[in-house]
Symmetry: C2
DNA sequence: ATTTCTACCAAACGCCCGTTTGGTGGAAGC
DNA sequence: GCTTCCACCAAACGGGCGTTTGGTAGAAAT
């Protein structure tokens, strides 16, 4: 079933494999760009195929259905975003410093890798529960890591301890993701300044005054 | 063209008018619920008509096209949300207090009127620029009002003045709207507690320490 | 030289969408 | 009692979608 994507292809010679992989990467990249720009539903296979230079039916040599594209786009997004951020959150050290790092990295990711951050919420609607689980788990892990960070910050005395860590984590991540909605490249706001601003506002509500 | 919706109907007798208006309100309410739940594109006229108890073609006695429904849903949402919040933001008084009121009211609106807050971003994609303008203007007015409030709070000495009011306003409103993404009714979190939390986090980053 | 394989084309399929058209039953107006 | 009007039905329309099927040109393998 998943042969086109997942099967071992070591029996193919290197030249063929490279061709196919390059083409496939191109397809995923184009899909990511279009999904980000117009949303998953509003993007047609015809349009994707056109930008890659083939007919829509030919895409089925790479996929078994449209949602395969979504899965692979989301996987790339997660490997660049959520997974990296989770690792940062789980590093050793003073909680407050870790949290600052996470917030800044998250904001930076949102600003610079715009292609991969759009429509995550929309995306879940278009995946069957079992295909979505993979991403749900990753996102939950990240959220939990931030939650633990906040709790530790409270214990260490840097963060106010009258706020529930879970709700705080949800608020913080929601806030950071919301940056995507209005931050535009070339809006006269440098990434650097935006990250500083996000840090000030994201952390300001958590810090002990 | 717009006869079904906008025309003067004073020549109809009261009984008829009431019937029609009640039916129309029902259609809008059902549309709002479905748009919120599944999104605009994913909601079919067939589905809307079914819940109201008619066939999809019959909806065209009330509308001239599907997007009419979106416009009317958004109008109702704006009149309950953005317009109310703008008025609060523009009242007289100490800026900090006003801002607290706005944040709390905004958070409360998001939590209690869930039907009308979903898919605002998606919505814009499905309206022609001239039909969207109405809503763009209202949202901009609100944002500007909050921006002025923050600027005044800085002058009055309650808010830190090293943050750009415009960026701060965008961050704050983005944060508040992001609550919609994860706040669920009956999640064991009362509206009251959520609003307090949102206030603490939203204001914490702006306040002078 | 023949076979095999691969990347892709060309064309059709069924589905469901938003929209249009023409009609119908029953209440309201004269 | 006849006409008018109105809310709605019944059925079709064209179109775009995701998907399937069968074929083909050309390189690689034997």
């Amino acid at each position: 079933m998943d042969a086109n994507i997942l099967d071992d292809i070591s029996h193919a010679d290197p030249a063929q494999r490279k061709d196919r992989e390059e083409r496939w990467a191109q397809v995923v990249a184009v899909s990511a760009a279009l999904f980000a720009q117009k949303g998953y539903e509003a993007t047609s296979l015809r349009e994707i195929a056109e930008r890659v230079g083939m007919l829509k039916g030919s895409l089925y040599h790479y996929i078994n259905g449209k949602s395969d594209l979504l899965v692979h786009v989301l996987r790339e997004a997660h490997s660049r975003g959520v997974l990296v951020l989770t690792k940062i959150a789980e590093r050793e050290g003073q909680a407050l410093e870790r949290l600052e790092e996470v917030i800044t990295a998250h904001a930076k990711y949102i600003c610079t890798e715009r292609v991969f951050t759009a429509g995550f919420i929309e995306a879940h609607r278009h995946l069957t529960p079992d295909r979505a689980r993979e991403f749900d788990v990753a996102e939950r892990n990240y959220r939990k890591a931030v939650e633990r960070l906040i709790a530790r910050g409270q214990v260490e005395g840097d963060l106010r301890d009258d706020l529930d860590p879970k709700v705080s984590a949800l608020c913080l991540l929601g806030f950071l993701n919301s940056l995507h909605g209005w931050v535009k490249p070339a809006s006269g706001l440098t990434t650097r300044r935006l990250c500083d601003h996000a840090l000030a506002m994201g952390l300001g509500g958590l810090r002990k005054t």
